[in-house]
C-alpha cells in the first residue's frame, strides 16, 4: 500500500513539473524582424514573382490556412499579397530544374547578407518552388508544401509530428494545412 502511495505521489510530481502541452513544435529561435502582422495592427505582405504565377491560387490558399486559423487557435498572423516587392517580406518564385531534387527551398536574408534562422533574425525570405519536383505530388500536397515553406519563413523548424504542416512530406506529413501545434508555435514566437 505504501509503495502505491509513493508511486502515486511521484506520478503527480511528474505531471505537475512537465505540462503535456507546449511540445509538438520546434522553433529556430529567431524571427521575422517586423513580425507577422501583430493581429492586423502591423500587416505584412508577400510578393509573387512572375515565375510563380502558375502557383498563385495555391499560394493564396496556403496563406489563408495560416491567416484564418481562429476555428482552431487565433494567432497574430496578418498577411496580404502586394504588388510592391520592396514592401513584402516573403517573396515567391519558381524554377523548373530537374537536377535539383528539392521541391521547396526557403532562403533567409537580413540587410547585407543571407542568414541562418538558428543564429539571427531575418528581414525577409525568398521561397523557391521547383516545378520539376512538385509535379510528383498532387495539388493538395503542393499547397501543403507551400504552407510548410511559409511556416519556415515565419520561424518554424521541422518536427516529426505527422499532424503538423512542419513535418516534411517525405517523412509522412498527413496534413496539407497548419494545425494546432503549428499555430501554437507561431504564438510562442510572436505573441
Amino acid at each position: 500500500m505504501k509503495k502505491r502511495l509513493s508511486l502515486l505521489l511521484s506520478a503527480l510530481a511528474v505531471v505537475l513539473f512537465f505540462p503535456i502541452e507546449s511540445s509538438a513544435y520546434i522553433l529556430y529561435g529567431h524571427k521575422l524582424t517586423n513580425g507577422v502582422g501583430n493581429w492586423g495592427k502591423n500587416r505584412q505582405y508577400y510578393y509573387l514573382h512572375d515565375s510563380a504565377n502558375q502557383y498563385k491560387p495555391l499560394i493564396k490558399n496556403a496563406w489563408n490556412t495560416w491567416v484564418n486559423s481562429s476555428s482552431i487557435l487565433s494567432t497574430p498572423i496578418s498577411f496580404r499579397e502586394s504588388t510592391n516587392k520592396k514592401a513584402s517580406v516573403v517573396e515567391f518564385f519558381s524554377i523548373n530544374n530537374p537536377s535539383k531534387k528539392y521541391a521547396g527551398m526557403t532562403y533567409f536574408y537580413r540587410y547585407k547578407e543571407e542568414v541562418e534562422p538558428e543564429k539571427s533574425n531575418w528581414g525577409w525570405t525568398e521561397i523557391e518552388l521547383n516545378q520539376a519536383e512538385l509535379k510528383y505530388i498532387g495539388e493538395t500536397d503542393q499547397q501543403g508544401t507551400i504552407a510548410h515553406e511559409i511556416g519556415h519563413a515565419m520561424g518554424l523548424a521541422h518536427n516529426g509530428n505527422e499532424f503538423s504542416v512542419m513535418c516534411q512530406f517525405a517523412y509522412g506529413r498527413k496534413t496539407s494545412r497548419p494545425l494546432l501545434d503549428d499555430y501554437k508555435g507561431i504564438n510562442a514566437i510572436y505573441n
Binding site: 506520478a11 525577409w124 516529426g160 516534411q168
Partner: protein, 223 residues
C-alpha cells in the same frame, strides 16, 4: 477497486509525460550538435550559408535508393567546380569522382564519373547578386571575393579528397546523386553512413551499415 483505477489513470499520464520529456531532450541534443558543426566550419575560413530545402520524394532505405539508381559506386573526389543556373539562388557542384569500387552499374574501377549536386562553394558577390537585390549595399572587393560554402540543410556538397559512396541516376551525360543528399554516404573504412540534414536528426534514417552488407543487399536487388 477505485484506487486501482486512479493508479491506472495516473500511470497513463505518467507514461505520456515521459514520452513528451524524451522528445524534449532529443531536441536539445540536436541543437547542440548543429551549433558545434557550424563553429568548426567557420574555423576553416568559409562563410557558410545554409538553405532549408524540402524533398517530396523520399529514399528511406536501400531498396528505394537502388531502384532509382543507374550506378552504385565507391569513389574518391578528384576535383570540383561550381555550376550556376540563370535566375536561381543555389549554385550546383560538379564533382569528378574516380571509381574505387563498383557495386552496381556499367562503370569500371578507375573510371572518372561526373556527379552534380545542389550547393557548393561560391562567393559573397554571387550570394548578394542572387538575393534579388533587396537593398544590398555594394560590397567591397575583399567582401565580394570571400568564399561561401553554400549548404543545403546543413550539408555541404562533395569536396576534393573525400571518399564517398554514391547512388547515381543518369542525367544528360552526367550523374545526379539520387534524391539530393539522400543517395550520398560517408565512407569510414568498412562503415558507411548518410549525413543527417540539420534539424532532422530525430527522423532521418542514416542507414549506417557495413559496406559488405550494402553490397549484398544491392546485388540481391539488382538481380
Amino acid at each position: 477497486m477505485k484506487k486501482g483505477f486512479i493508479l491506472m489513470g495516473i500511470s497513463a499520464i505518467l507514461l505520456g509525460s515521459f514520452v513528451v520529456v524524451s522528445a524534449f531532450s532529443t531536441n536539445t541534443e540536436t541543437n547542440a550538435t548543429a551549433t558545434k558543426k557550424t563553429t568548426d566550419e567557420t574555423a576553416s575560413g568559409f562563410i557558410t550559408v545554409d538553405t532549408h530545402a524540402d524533398i517530396v520524394r523520399a529514399y528511406n532505405d536501400i531498396p528505394s535508393l537502388t531502384k532509382a539508381s543507374a550506378i552504385v559506386i565507391e569513389g574518391d573526389v578528384m576535383s570540383t567546380s561550381t555550376k550556376y543556373y540563370k535566375d536561381e539562388i543555389a549554385p550546383c557542384t560538379l564533382s569528378q569522382v574516380k571509381v574505387s569500387k563498383v557495386i552496381s552499374g556499367d562503370v569500371k574501377i578507375g573510371d572518372v564519373v561526373t556527379f552534380q549536386e545542389t550547393g557548393g562553394i561560391t562567393t559573397q558577390k554571387y550570394v548578394s547578386e542572387r538575393s534579388r537585390g533587396r537593398d544590398f549595399p555594394p560590397l567591397s572587393e575583399v567582401e565580394e571575393n570571400k568564399q561561401v560554402d553554400f549548404k543545403i540543410n546543413g550539408l555541404s556538397a562533395m569536396k576534393k579528397d573525400e571518399k564517398v559512396l554514391l547512388f547515381g541516376e543518369r542525367y544528360q551525360d552526367i550523374y545526379l546523386v539520387v534524391g539530393g543528399y539522400q543517395g550520398k554516404f560517408k565512407v569510414d573504412g568498412n562503415k558507411i553512413e548518410r549525413q543527417s540534414p540539420k534539424g532532422d536528426e530525430s527522423f532521418y534514417p542514416t542507414l549506417k551499415m557495413s559496406q559488405s552488407s550494402l553490397v549484398n543487399e544491392v546485388q540481391q536487388l539488382k538481380k
